[in-house]
Amino acid sequence: MLNTIPVGIGEIKVSRDPRDVLVAYGLGSCLGIGLYDPQARVAGLLHAVLPTCPDPEAASCLTGKYVDSGLAHMLEEMLEAGADRKRIILRMAGGANMLSSFNGDPALQIGARNISAAQEIIAGLKLKVAGQEVGGTSGRTVNFYVADGRMTIRMLGNREREI
């Protein structure tokens, strides 16, 4: 019997329980980033809203609200939970542009900015990307299975599929 663990906006959840499925529902411009150690079977899912933490000393940057600080904190939590830095792989989904008709205003391109921030910090942390489905104009629900590190997405009108 699987346990569904919702990961709300701005949250980070880390688990070692193979019965857990970490779920971020209805991602629009938000980004769902998953980290997994396949040997220790430690999984973490981040549900980030905005790309960049404005003040690294601020308490708000200790949560999962921002892509950059959130991913760094989730990595720390994974290591504390027993993951090995060298084995960790990453999968991510989301970052859609839900307002395709407002394409002219960069301030409204939050999804694209979240993706760029993720790519930058992934490169900086030298994380291996095992799969991703980002961008587009549709919402996605992400399911991240702790037992085997599979990440699946579901979009309106479509079946769940692995990325």
Binding site: G8, L27, G28, V49, P54, M98, G139, R154, L156
Partner: protein, 192 residues
């Protein structure tokens, strides 16, 4: 969205929103040709982590009209309902027999956009006439997707710091109901 707000600001914001929604309902009555009831706006502080559950299940398919406004009453506005209810409203807007609309294509979305445009225009006119607030709306966008993904749009105006999202929530009863959400910009709340 600014969440630090004192009683005086709350009262003022409520008055502006109430007058705006009342006028918007009157405008919608002209559009659909029958009485449109509305609920008094409720000022809410919604925890960020559960924001996408604001209207229930975050994967529920919803149709929304989204608009932004710049100026004295800057902020974000959204009229949102289930896709099925949006289709029923389209029947009314296009004067079609009930049950005719079964999908939201270009024509149907255009009708919804016009409804949102009109409602916001009346809302902003009330603010201008009653409070001297000059505001410029953007063209409406119609989005059909999971509730959580649609509500993500409103987080574009989030201040990035607070753990709560402040908004005003009301309902228009067009048989069916639309939820109306207004998220004022921080500058608006601080200036009230």
């Amino acid at each position: 969205m600014y969440t630090g707000i004192d009683q005086k600001q709350q009262t003022r914001l409520f008055q502006i929103a109430h007058d705006g929604i009342k006028k918007a309902a009157a405008g919608l009555e002209d559009m659909v040709g029958q009485e449109v009831r509305f609920s008094a706006p409720l000022l809410r502080q919604v925890p960020l982590f559960s924001f996408r559950n604001l209207l229930g299940w975050p994967e529920a398919e919803m149709a929304a009209v989204y608009l932004r406004a710049d100026g004295d009453l800057a902020g974000q506005f959204m009229l949102i309902t289930s896709t099925e209810d949006a289709q029923r409203v389209v029947d009314r807007l296009l004067e079609l027999p009930p049950g005719t609309t079964t999908s939201l294509g270009r024509l149907e979305r255009s009708a919804l956009a016009e409804m949102g445009n009109l409602a916001l225009a009346y809302f902003l006119n009330a603010a201008a006439e009653g409070y001297g607030m000059e505001t410029r709306p953007t063209p409406p966008a119609v989005i059909v997707d999971m509730a959580g993904a649609v509500l993500d749009l409103l987080l574009m105006g989030w201040d990035g710091v607070s753990d709560q999202v402040m908004l005003l929530q009301s309902k228009f009863n067009l048989e069916p109901q639309f939820t109306c959400l207004f998220l004022p910009a921080r500058s608006v709340v601080e200036g009230i």
